[in-house]
């Protein structure tokens, strides 16, 4: 069996906060298969971004990281910052929420794409510029020949996000991690960018990790979804299974709290309480104080993320355990 593209094993991250270490990530394990699209959802502060910043060594040096990251089955811990820079962009590319501030304001967009092409594929200046031009066409920027010499501030948010995607594609990565790529954009532009990401994935066969707090976006273009809560993955399932039959009470709560444009209009069922402070997590299951299904045992131990069916994992004492038959299926 070939090894998965990327494997995160028991990743933990601690940040120094006022003289103490505060754990932001409590052992995240995740597998990305070649070519698949994984959605990572969770609310603000749940650890979505930190997971991938830790995996790609982009966190500030003061952060304490433990656990393993495997690329093609090989650990990347030993890599130096320089070697890691080669992996980033070339093997794993990242794009972020606010395209306009992720681009360098003083360089023309064409130059920034060409730079990435030179860095990752060793083209000379003329070839890199031609490739930049081709990439702008590829991400469907109209009149690419003229836009190539524009500065980011001369372009709209949607066009800048297309430029970011072009920069990301420059290294022909095997995995694109898109962190809230459409959150800063209007809904009609968001739809364009989601369509573009899906198209690029079809054409290049690259894998995609789409980070979002919006379940609708994730449902739209991913195959599998991992739900995070308070620094842990609490549920992981194929996209249809997750939405049709959520097993974790937090996922169930999120779906019940979600308004929709279609279907019958009903009063939303809110999750009561609030997201816990990472510096003072409740004992046992972090969701226990808000969980309608909690039992006494939930506050004394932390549920592990276990298989509940083929290709499904849930971290909840009350989720139905998988039979060996289901797992073998």
């Amino acid at each position: 069996m070939t090894s998965p593209l990327v494997e995160l094993k028991d990743l933990t991250v601690d940040f120094p906060v006022g003289g103490n270490w505060v754990r932001a990530l409590h052992g995240v394990s995740l597998t990305i298969r070649r070519g698949e699209a994984l959605g990572l959802v969770g609310e603000s502060g749940s650890g979505k971004s930190v997971t991938w910043l830790a995996a790609t060594k982009l966190l500030p040096a003061k952060a304490r990281i433990a656990g393993e990251v495997l690329l093609d089955g090989r650990p990347i811990q030993g890599l130096t910052r320089d070697q890691m820079a080669g992996v980033r962009g070339k093997r794993v590319a990242l794009i972020f929420q606010d395209p306009t501030s992720s681009l360098n304001p003083v360089h023309r967009v064409g130059t920034q794409i060409a730079e990435a092409v030179r860095l990752h594929r060793g083209f000379d200046a003329a070839a890199a510029r031609a490739e930049a031009r081709r990439l702008l066409d590829r991400v469907h920027i109209p009149s690419a020949a003229r836009r190539i010499d524009d500065y980011p501030h001369e372009l709209s948010g949607g066009t800048n996000q297309r430029v970011m995607i072009a920069v990301a594609l420059a290294g022909e990565p095997d995995l694109l991690v898109a962190d809230e790529p459409t959150t800063a954009l209007d809904v009609t532009i968001q739809a364009q960018i989601l369509d573009l990401l899906a198209e690029m994935r079809r054409e290049t066969g690259m894998a995609l990790v789409l980070i979002s707090h919006d379940l609708g976006i994730v449902a739209d273009i991913t195959d599998r979804v991992a739900v995070m809560y308070a620094g842990r993955i609490v549920e992981e399932a194929p996209v249809d299974a997750l939405f049709d039959d959520p097993r974790h009470p937090y996922t169930q709560g999120l779906l019940a709290a979600l308004p929709d444009v279609g279907g019958p209009r009903r009063r939303l069922t809110a999750i009561h309480g609030q997201v816990p402070n990472p510096a003072a997590l409740p004992p046992g299951c972090s969701f226990a104080p808000r969980c309608p299904a909690a039992i006494a045992g939930c506050v004394t131990a932390i549920p592990s993320l276990d298989a509940v069916a083929a290709d499904r994992r849930t971290a909840c004492f009350r989720a139905r355990p998988a039979t060996s038959l289901e797992i073998a299926a």
Binding site: D186, D195, V261, G262, R265, L268, I271
Partner: protein, 330 residues
């Protein structure tokens, strides 16, 4: 039923620097360009549209915190002036605003209790003891326990802060709440709490809402009527179910069709091409024509007026879509 709020022909134009750099000739930016609507007492009008279409400007014009260039606003039978005299202040007491970011709307040096009582103090309402009593009862109504009375805003979660903002607005017993993206800054699991709270408060205090949001899903949850804005104008207005199920205006159609939801996963979306044009140099004729899949020659020269359709809805389009549901066409 007479309307609590009536707005007619609101206009706000700005002169901004043109394209020619620092010394470019000033050009007109049409932030709001002829907006009319009315809201009956106790009802909610949802105002939706993409960023920059003029929603917040409309809100400020309604409240009179921004001077309008044209049009009129009548609140509870009285014209709302743009002059900040005693009458405006008395009127303002019964029209309150709730903003997107609760933290910046609060004073970080004041305890929650002081902030909630402050508007009553400013308007000289009641004795200190009465204000305290009222504040505690309003805090209870918005779901803030009295133990928060002596806490500071930074010690509260986003949802709790938005409750403080609501309590502060409600202590003056307003008739109208203008909510500008009131839940956009909140965590996903908290948004439903605040949506439900707004609905309960409306029942309890017979409140009227002008509810502004870019999120159609949220607007559908709270609004009795919806108005869709595009480049400073209302392009469609009507019952939320009719409007979201079978939008008549091609822009509403695109907007509804673009929303990704778990319910519609896997279905093809009919995407809208292009960026929204800027409110400077809006296209002639129908401002939506450069992006409209139904545009014809007439659309490029003649601006469509907001006209009633058979089912009581209003649409500003020469060729409105009259039957097919939005999300099944593709």
């Amino acid at each position: 039923m007479s309307a609590l709020l009536e707005v007619e022909g609101l206009v706000k134009h700005y002169l901004v620097r043109g394209g020619g750099g620092l010394f470019g000739a000033p050009v007109v930016l049409k932030a709001v360009d002829g907006v009319s609507f009315s809201i009956p007492a106790g009802r909610t009008l949802g105002l939706v549209g993409e960023s920059g279409c003029g929603k917040s400007t409309t809100a400020r014009l309604v409240l009179g915190t921004l001077a309008r260039d044209d049009g009129k606003v009548v609140f509870d039978g009285e014209p709302v002036g743009a002059v900040r005299d005693a009458r405006w202040r008395a009127q303002r007491r019964t029209m309150q605003m709730v903003y997107q970011d609760p933290l910046s709307a609060l004073d970080r040096r004041l305890t929650v209790g002081k902030q909630v009582m402050e508007p009553a103090l400013i308007h000289g309402l009641g004795t200190a003891a009465e204000r305290r009593q009222k504040a505690l009862s309003i805090m209870d109504a918005v779901g803030l326990s009295s133990r928060f009375f002596d806490r500071y805003p930074h010690e509260l979660s986003g949802g709790q802060r938005q409750r403080v903002v609501l309590a502060r607005a409600l202590i003056l017993s307003p008739k109208l709440l203008v909510c500008d993206e009131p839940i956009s800054a909140l965590d996903v699991s908290i948004q439903a709490q605040v949506i439900n709270l707004l609905l309960d408060l409306q029942d309890q205090f017979s409140l009227t809402y002008l509810f502004i949001s870019h999120d159609l899903k949220v607007v559908r949850q709270v609004a009795h009527e919806v108005a869709v804005m595009y480049l400073g104008r209302i392009v469609e207005r009507g019952d939320p179910e009719a409007l979201f199920h079978a939008p008549a205006h091609p822009y509403t159609r695109a907007l509804v069709g673009a929303i990704p939801t778990p319910l519609t996963r896997g279905r093809a979306r009919a995407s809208l091409q292009g960026d929204p044009p800027s409110p400077i140099n809006t296209p002639p004729g129908c401002a939506f024509h450069p992006r409209c899949p139904r545009a014809e020659a007439r659309c490029r020269s003649e601006a469509p007026l907001l006209r009633p359709l058979d089912d009581g809805r209003f649409a500003a389009c020469h060729f409105p879509v009259l039957s097919t549901p939005a999300r099944e066409a593709a």
